[in-house]
Structure formats: structure tokens, C-alpha cells
């Protein structure tokens, strides 16, 4: 017991002494969540657009007002002809142009087809698509209003409800994603580095030659990073609740319990990494390439797994973050209980035990 005590104390001393790492450990999660929250948002808000109204009648003015009234778009000055629109697009002043042709009201009220042209800057295809969809929606609303006025007999109105995330906030997706990334990075990478450092500075030999049991070494290395990771979970949740306005729908204790499980998974991975390498740099490289990349690509956080080719879908099953991501989304956003996530929890537990078993076995043979 005393051995655990002195060892854990020493580990904390290392961490506290290294101010730069300390800063990374605690500031990284905050920076990540804020960057994802504010800078990398793919929501459309106050996008600059231009409206070229060649009709200048009541209907065209109504449509124009409706577009501007939506919080999605903001008018960027006046345009008088197509050349103005083009130069505004080229100089990046606007991302979308709406062109209302001549005789708009006339076409509408006389039963002819009225047309509105949307020109989007598709250098960023995702944004362009989203913008045109939003603008189309506003135009459809406008059409609905007019149809209502004319009382057409046949209309189908889809009533769309966005469940669990009614405001379509990006935060619902990236908070669980960033959480998985941070926990993996800190727990796996830092643990592996902490152990490999002992090899690099040769103190590992002294420890192995001492009566200290390997399990004490492993647990003592893990405890500080478990603590730090739990602090980070708390920070991320506080930011997401109070700054990003994303409440936790499910049980907060269940959420912490699954985070704890995932931290253990990550630490087990870190132990495995520390077993196969002798230098801190290699450990860091393996953690980044071997853990971070699959997490970004195959966890479902950045790219939907359902849309991937089948081999990639199969491969994604061995990425622990995928399961953690599902669990956190279920608990945090959908508010589901343990009954709905037990399968994923079981998979993560299995993975953790497997990693721990492998690293313990390998560690023992190194001793002999």
C-alpha cells in the first residue's frame, strides 16, 4: 500500500513539475471544445448573401424580406445587375446570391411557373449545399404562404421534427466526439509516455530490480491520468452545459461511469503501446497515428459510418471510440439509460480486459 502511495506521489510530482505538459493536459480540452464550438461550426448563421431583384414588385419584395428576416442570411449591400453578383461572389463578400427574375409577381399570380435562381459559392461544397437548402426552405415557406392565400385544394405539408436536437446544434455531435478524442489522447498517450520515459532514463531497470510488483507500477502510472481525465470530463461538460447550452439529457452518474470505463480502455491501450516501444517519441507517434487518426475517421464523429464502404464499416468496429461515441450520444443527448447501452458497454469492457491482459502478459515476460 505504501509503495502505491510513494509511486503515485512521484508521478504527480513529475506532472506538476512539467508546466508545459500541465498546460496541455488541462487547457487542451478547453481549447478543443471552444474551437469546435465556435470556430468549426457548420451551422448557418448570418451568412452574407446578395439579392438581385429584377422584378421589383410586391411579391419579390415579400420574398426578399422573408429571406432577410430569417436568422440564416444577412444582406450584403445592394446589387444592381448580374455583374455585381459575380464580383461579390468572386471577392468572397457573399456565399449565395438569389436572383428574382422580371415579372415575378405576374408569373406567380397568373398561374405560370415563377422561377428564382440560387447561385452558391461551391468552393466549399458542404456549405454551398447547406445554404441552398436553407434558402430553398425559406422560398418554400413563402410559397406556402401564397398557396394558403389562394387556398389551393391539394397540398402536402411535411411536418418535420428534429428529434433530440431540435435546433440542429453542431454541439450535439462534437461534444461527445471531442470528449472521446481528449480522453483517448490524454489517457493513452500520456500513460504510454510516462511508462516509456522510465525506460528511456533507465529508471525502469532499477524499478524492475526492486521488490516492487509490476502491477503497482502500472496502477501508479494510471491513477494520475485517470484523475486528470475525470477533471477534463467535468470541464468539458461544464462548458457544454453553460457556454454551449447543451444540457445532459440522461443520468449524469451513468455518463461519468461510462467515461471512467473509456478512460480505463484508453489507459489499457497506453500500456500496450508502452510495451512495444522504448522511446517517448515513438510512443507519441503511435498514439497519434494509431489512435487519433482512426478515432477521427472511423468513430462516426467526423464522417457517418453508415455511408462508408463495407470494409471500412467492419474496420470501424475495432475502434473503441466508436462505441464510446454511441454511448455518450445515447446517454447525453437522447437521455437513454443503461438498458439501451449495455451492448456497447460490454464491448468496451471486453476490449479493455483484452488490452490489459495483453499488456500484463507482455510486461511479465519482459521481467524474466
Amino acid at each position: 500500500m505504501r509503495q502505491y502511495g510513494v509511486f503515485i506521489k512521484k508521478e504527480f510530482k513529475h506532472i506538476i513539475r512539467d508546466k508545459r505538459s500541465l498546460l496541455i493536459l488541462f487547457a487542451l480540452p478547453i481549447a478543443q471544445i471552444l474551437i469546435f464550438g465556435f470556430a468549426l461550426t457548420n451551422e448557418i448563421k448570418n451568412t452574407k448573401i446578395a439579392i438581385l431583384d429584377l422584378s421589383q414588385d410586391e411579391a419579390s419584395h415579400q420574398l426578399r424580406d422573408q429571406l432577410i428576416a430569417s436568422q440564416y442570411f444577412e444582406l450584403n449591400g445592394d446589387v444592381h445587375d448580374v455583374a455585381d453578383v459575380e464580383s461579390a461572389l468572386l471577392s468572397d463578400q457573399i456565399k449565395l446570391a438569389v436572383i428574382i427574375p422580371e415579372n415575378f409577381q405576374n408569373d406567380l399570380s397568373h398561374g405560370n411557373e415563377a422561377q428564382v435562381q440560387l447561385i452558391a459559392d461551391a468552393t466549399d461544397p458542404n456549405t454551398a449545399t447547406t445554404l441552398s437548402v436553407y434558402a430553398s426552405a425559406v422560398i418554400r415557406d413563402f410559397q406556402g404562404d401564397i398557396n394558403g392565400a389562394y387556398n389551393l385544394p391539394y397540398t402536402i405539408t411535411p411536418e418535420v421534427r428534429m428529434l433530440y436536437n431540435p435546433q440542429l446544434k453542431g454541439a450535439y455531435l462534437f461534444v461527445p466526439g471531442v470528449m472521446g478524442m481528449i480522453l483517448l489522447l490524454i489517457s493513452a498517450m500520456m500513460t504510454s509516455i510516462a511508462i516509456v520515459r522510465e525506460k528511456e532514463i533507465n529508471t525502469m531497470e532499477i524499478i524492475l530490480a526492486s521488490p516492487l510488483k509490476p502491477i503497482v507500477l502500472i496502477l501508479s502510472k494510471a491513477v494520475p491520468y485517470i484523475t486528470i481525465s475525470l477533471v477534463n470530463v467535468t470541464t468539458i461538460l461544464l462548458i457544454s452545459i453553460f457556454i454551449l447550452g447543451l444540457p445532459v439529457a440522461g443520468n449524469i452518474f451513468l455518463l461519468f461511469a461510462v467515461c471512467f470505463l473509456f478512460i480505463t480502455t484508453a489507459i489499457a491501450l497506453g500500456l500496450m503501446i508502452s510495451n512495444i516501444t522504448d522511446s517517448q517519441q515513438t510512443a507519441m507517434f503511435i498514439s497519434l497515428m494509431g489512435l487519433m487518426l482512426p478515432t477521427l475517421i472511423l468513430s462516426g464523429f467526423m464522417f457517418p459510418i453508415e455511408n462508408m464502404p463495407v470494409p471500412m464499416q467492419v474496420l470501424s468496429n475495432i475502434v473503441p471510440t466508436k462505441w464510446f461515441f454511441i454511448i455518450v450520444k445515447d446517454v447525453m443527448i437522447k437521455g437513454l439509460g443503461f438498458a439501451s447501452i449495455w451492448r456497447e458497454v460490454l464491448i468496451l469492457t471486453g476490449m479493455t480486459l483484452f488490452f490489459l491482459f495483453v499488456s500484463y502478459k507482455k510486461f511479465k515476460t519482459r521481467l524474466a
Binding site: 509503495q3 509511486f7 513529475h14 524492475l208 530490480a209 521488490p211
Partner: protein, 250 residues
Amino acid sequence: MHKEGQIVISASELTKTFGDFTAVDHISFEVKKGEIFGFLGANGAGKTTAMKMLIGILSPTSGNASVAGYDIYTQTEHVKQNIGYMSQRFSLYEDIPVIENIRFFGGIYGVGAKELKAKSAALLDKLELTSSAKTLVRDLPLGWKQKLAFSISILHDPQVVFLDEPTGGVDPITRRKFWELIYEAADRGVTVFVTTHYMDEAEYCDRISIMVDGRIAAMDKPAILKEQFQSPTIDAIFTQLARGAKRTAD
């Protein structure tokens, strides 16, 4: 507890192979309690490998050995409780203070809290480091680091201490001071097993063995060896023996 002349380390036909390479080739020797046993050899002669087998962090391919009365195959845990070890590369934690290093290593060797407090005070006093207790180890001169590492390795009063090239990289005067600490420990009955390639240090040992290509080429008291080889210095004997070596230093 220990009677005079008690054998503390004994190795018989101890061998370690890595694939085709025989690092340690059937070596046999005995070391008595309180003896300073010098383990000499060129780089790559197998000194460190032999030592690692004795302290239980490398398992032998064949042969037998016991340390402090315990078998190195079956009683590794007991062996570890009764030895101290100072590794080749200087190894304390550079980023934490002197006193914390003492507490840590004392702690993992199971020295009780109260005892540890008294011992670390005495240790600091002896090394004249009391005022530098809070200094980071990295800020100490190399010679002091080595003395500190040695003192820490015997803090838990082991029966045997294994020193793997403990004085690498320091001048002869600093080495001499280091050896005063070794003598002091030996006087208290600690058996010292030390590898070195400094031939002046060989003269300080009670008994030496010279390893060439994984085998022990000569072993006795320095004076007897000099007589036997009709050579004025250990250095000359070593050169004579090492000339026959097939292995090149790594």
C-alpha cells in the same frame, strides 16, 4: 547473523544466449560476504548481461546461481528484497528534487516512513547535501549524482549491492571519492559486486575477474594476478587477455 566467509553470491555455469550469440558463456564464481568483487571486461564482454541475470531482470539460458542465499530462478522476489542495484546509465529522476528521489526509492524498497525520514537525513548529511535537499537532481554535478545514486541503492541495507560501471564519465579524483563510499559500505558487511572498465578501480577491489568474450579469463586477488601474469599492472594483464578477444566492442 552472518558468519565470516559466508558465500553471498554463487554462480555455476551461468549462460545467456541471444539467438546464436552467447553473451555469457558458462561462468562460475563465488563472492563472500563483505567482499568487493570487481567484474572487469571490455565493452560487450558480457558483464552487464551477467549482472542482470543475478539481479533477476534477465533469465539465464542455463546454469545456476544464487544471491543472498536465494535461487535466482525460483526466489526472485527474495533476491530483489536483499539487493541494491545501480545501473550503468545514471538513473535517478532528474526532474524531481534530491529528497524526493530518496523518499521514492526508499519507499519502493519498503523502508518504513519513520525509518526513511531518519535515514534520508543521515544520507543527506553524509553527502553534504542537506542544503541541496530541494535541488533538482539534474542540477547536481555528475559525481554527486553518482554518489547519491549509490547511497540510495544501499538505503534499505541490502546484503549485496550491484554496481554497473558506477563511475563512468568522471575524473579519477571523483572516482576515488566514490570508492570511499564503497569501502564504507563493505566495512558494514555489504557485499559489493562492481563492473568497471577503469583499471585503476580494479586495484581497489578485494578480488577481480576479467571477462573476455563471455567467459571468465582470469579471477583472483589483484596482487596474485599480477604475480601470476608477471605484470606490473592490472591494465597490462587486461590488455594481454583482451588481445585474444574475437568480439569487437560495441
